[in-house]
């Protein structure tokens, strides 16, 4: 791996970490657990489009691990790992669908993230009724996903090409 790619990934990972922290400072006060802005996904979508799925995966996994070490526990690690892996796989697949933009891809990623977390919560808590939280989570995923996707599109367009040419 070229040093420049490594350094860029590390920098973006640090950025994603800061966004995770910023997000935790402003919890969206809603009665549904799991509703959040998804700010770190901004970095992941950017990396996915400009640096490829491999870079996005490395950034995402390191972020999840570090967040769990700094702020979380084994359960929060499971939640975010499931969400991060499944949403990135789906986004990487949808990115190749012609006609889909970052908005759609990011929405799919956000929604997949929520579905994965509900799934893990159902397994950890052993309660299938948690699925009742899915509809409001899907809607919040669409709203935050569109916002993140549109901002990501601007970043992908405007951040100089040379930053991500390896």
């Amino acid at each position: 791996m070229k040093v420049k790619r490594l350094v860029t990934e590390a920098m973006l990972c640090a950025l994603a970490l800061i966004l995770s922290y910023v997000e935790s400072l402003f919890p969206l006060s809603v009665a549904v657990p799991g509703v959040k802005m998804g700010l770190p996904n901004l970095v992941i979508v950017f990396a996915l489009y400009r640096m490829g799925a491999g870079s996005a995966a490395r950034i995402s996994l390191v972020r999840v691990a570090v967040v769990a070490l700094l702020f979380g526990n084994i359960y929060s690690l499971l939640y975010s790992l499931a969400g991060a892996v499944l949403s990135l796989v789906l986004m990487a697949l949808l990115k190749n669908v012609s006609g889909l933009h970052t908005a759609g891809v990011s929405v799919a990623g956000a929604v997949m993230h929520n579905i994965a977390q509900i799934g893990v919560a159902m397994i950890i808590l052993g309660t299938k009724e948690i699925i009742y939280y899915l509809p409001p989570l899907l809607i919040s995923g669409v709203v935050t996903g569109v916002a993140i996707g549109l901002v990501a599109a601007l970043l992908i367009q405007r951040i100089p090409e040379k930053m991500t040419s390896f």
């Binding site: 919560a121 808590l125 009724e129």
Partner: protein, 133 residues
């Protein structure tokens, strides 16, 4: 911004998800029946089954046994059953999502406190019979 027409596929995807969410919500709402009992579980372990008809106020220490201070007593969560429905009155966790989840009375409705792994579920009389000795 590009023309909206270019975003046709994205809009379809979003519309599909929203319709899916609506259908799910509708199906869940239709499937709900008035509940008879409240089941309380912590970390997957059954703690209690109580009648919705009988008013009560119960204190649950958080799972680790630590007794964090809530507003008026030392506890993890304070659960209240009154007027045939259940709600979480107090919680010692920072986000208090379980308190915000409000009042529940239909079968299958839950109050979840993730930090304390406490799950409160409204259940039917049949379900309660299986759990009660």
């Amino acid at each position: 911004m590009n023309r909206l027409k270019d975003y046709r596929k994205d809009l379809f995807l979003i519309l599909g998800i929203l319709i899916g969410a609506g259908l799910l919500a509708g199906a869940f709402a239709l499937a709900k029946k008035p509940g008879a009992y409240v089941r309380v579980e912590q970390n997957g372990k059954l703690l209690a089954v109580w009648k919705l008809e009988e008013d009560r106020r119960e204190v649950f220490p958080s799972e680790s046994g630590e007794t964090e201070k809530t507003e008026d007593e030392e506890a993890g969560n304070v659960l209240v059953i009154e007027n045939g429905s259940v709600h979480m009155e107090l919680a010692s966790c920072p986000d208090k999502l379980c308190v915000k989840q409000g009042t529940k009375s239909k079968v299958g409705e839950t109050i979840v406190c993730l930090p304390h792994k406490l799950v409160v579920t409204v259940i039917s009389a049949e379900e309660a019979e299986e759990l009660l000795p």
